[in-house]
């Protein structure tokens, strides 16, 4: 963290290598649209670079990055509702990110089912499930990312898990 705050490029590279796939995967699964995820992902890293000198020494980077990524998505959603063209685009697109050929080849049947089940969750459940179940954030950290109380996060997570389990054909 000290290196990042001091503008050390090597420190930035280490953070980028460690968190890039996690943040990108979170955004692809959250938005269900790879091109939108690309755009928000790029903006997330540019914001980290711009804010690096002002980060507090005790900043939890995972929570910080997921918070920025999630807030960018929320802003985009609000803006999309005001834009008729984008609204139409959203309405006519199938839910879920289009997997690349490599991802299709490497994903197992159970992984493909899980991806589809997560994509079908309501957004409020999808984001908490992605943060805690997929990205393994502590529920307290997820609460910070989502701007919710720990209790509200716990309830939302419990409902999200139950919905996911039902979609996968098992008990919660």
């Amino acid at each position: 963290m000290a290196g990042l705050r001091a503008g050390d490029p090597a420190a930035f590279d280490a953070v980028y290598a460690a968190y890039r796939p996690r943040v990108y995967g979170f955004l692809v699964r959250l938005t269900g649209r790879r091109e939108l995820a690309d755009e928000l992902h790029q903006e997330t890293w540019v914001r980290l670079a711009r804010h690096a000198p002002r980060l507090a020494p005790d900043t939890r980077l995972a929570a910080w990055l997921f918070t920025v990524a999630r807030n960018l998505w929320r802003s985009h959603q609000r803006w999309a509702w005001l834009d008729g063209t984008r609204l139409l685009e959203l309405a006519t697109r199938p839910a879920g990110a289009t997997p690349t050929p490599l991802e299709l080849a490497t994903a197992s049947e159970s992984q493909r089912r899980a991806e589809a089940a997560i994509a079908a969750l309501p957004a409020a459940y999808r984001e908490v499930v992605l943060l805690v179940v997929v990205e393994h954030l502590d529920p307290a950290e997820a609460a910070v990312v989502l701007g919710l109380s720990p209790e509200a996060t716990r309830q939302r997570l419990s409902r999200g898990r139950a919905a996911l389990a039902a979609a996968l054909g098992g008990a919660p």
Partner: protein, 66 residues
């Protein structure tokens, strides 16, 4: 049964990941240079004013008039 989920990793293609890394690093450099200037400039102004009060007054009047 849903915790933890082992999903396939998703990542940018290497060329785009590298392009983004370079872009973000130049933003980092810009942000750091700006931050450094913000901290140092007031100190330099105070030191200049203490060492050369007459010139500092002239500069201040010039900036004010401009």
């Amino acid at each position: 049964m849903t915790d933890p989920l082992d999903l396939p990793p998703l990542d940018l293609p290497p060329d785009r990941a590298e392009r983004l890394r370079r872009m973000a690093r130049s933003e980092l450099r810009r942000a750091h240079d700006g931050s450094w200037a913000d901290r140092v400039q007031p100190t330099l102004c105070v030191a200049f004013a203490a060492a050369f009060p007459v010139w500092a007054a002239v500069v201040a009047l010039g900036v004010g008039a401009g």
